[in-house]
Amino acid sequence: MASHDINELVEEAQGGDHRAFEELVRRTYADTYTLAFRLTGDEEDARDVVQETYLRVHKSLKKFRGDAQFGTWIHRITANCASTLLGRRSRHRHDEIDDEIQLADDHPSRDPEQRADVGELRNQLTDALRGLPPKLRAVVVLRDIYDLPHEAIADELGISETAAKVRLHRARKRLRERLYPLAGDVSHDSESEEVGRAV
């Protein structure tokens, strides 16, 4: 079983071999958990999302036809589960996309590349991602880290492709302003009206 590649395991799991399915879970778990954690920003939420993801994978495995890579298929399901969880939560908290979470920049005048190694930049980026509102974070994580197409992101998040792009651009702008600030960067408030109309 350990020597099987992912496609062989998928075929065996589709044929009802639960050991093959378990091996698939073992091989994809770390990646799925990482995505879930990046989308939710919380360990407990990430566990809930991962569990729901694999339950859905198990339920719909026979429908997987191999048009996309198995990993990409799981990413899409993970994104959908995280979106459902975060959507449910935001309805409870009235957490709208225009809630402004100000990103505190401890060292706005210094260029991260000049003063930090790759690890520090990575940490700053991780912090900056966690500081984004969940709806913006989801889009930039799925597009810029996991390279999902705009159409797939829009499908899984239940929004239009245009809205997905607008959220992506807003998210990138906030991250850029935090990590690579330029003199004369405008505040978030000045763009929110325009973006609100576009979404």
Partner: protein, 114 residues
């Protein structure tokens, strides 16, 4: 065009989306916006480099596998649990057989008496 008018559009340049003529004309003469485009490219590279960083939570994997395990899958039970499961089935079968024998003997005695 002003910098703040093209600002959000610049975030799309890393996807090779066209800016449109007015914005392109502005960026071609604006050092601030050109710098911003460069920073977006750096940001995109930094994000892409995170793809293979994994967040570890190995403690949850055994619990997850347990949740996903089919309830009646005896072949997946190991060691003590499997022995206990098989012993239970054997005990139940033995008790059932003994009960059937007792019942059958009672019925035959009743028939003989009548």
């Amino acid at each position: 065009m002003q910098c703040d008018e093209v600002s959000l559009l610049l975030a799309a340049t890393v996807d090779d989306e066209p800016l449109g003529m007015p914005a392109t004309r502005h960026v071609s003469t604006c050092l601030h916006c050109q710098a911003e485009v460069v920073q977006y490219r750096k940001l995109r590279r930094a994000l892409a480099a995170m793809r293979h960083d994994l967040v570890a939570d190995d403690e949850f994997l055994p619990d997850l596998l347990e949740v996903l395990r089919p309830p009646a899958d005896v072949t997946r039970l190991h060691g003590g649990r499997r022995r206990a499961y098989l012993s239970g089935i054997a005990a139940a079968a033995t008790a059932g057989a003994a009960g059937a024998i007792v019942l059958a003997s009672k019925i035959s005695k009743t028939r003989l008496a009548s």
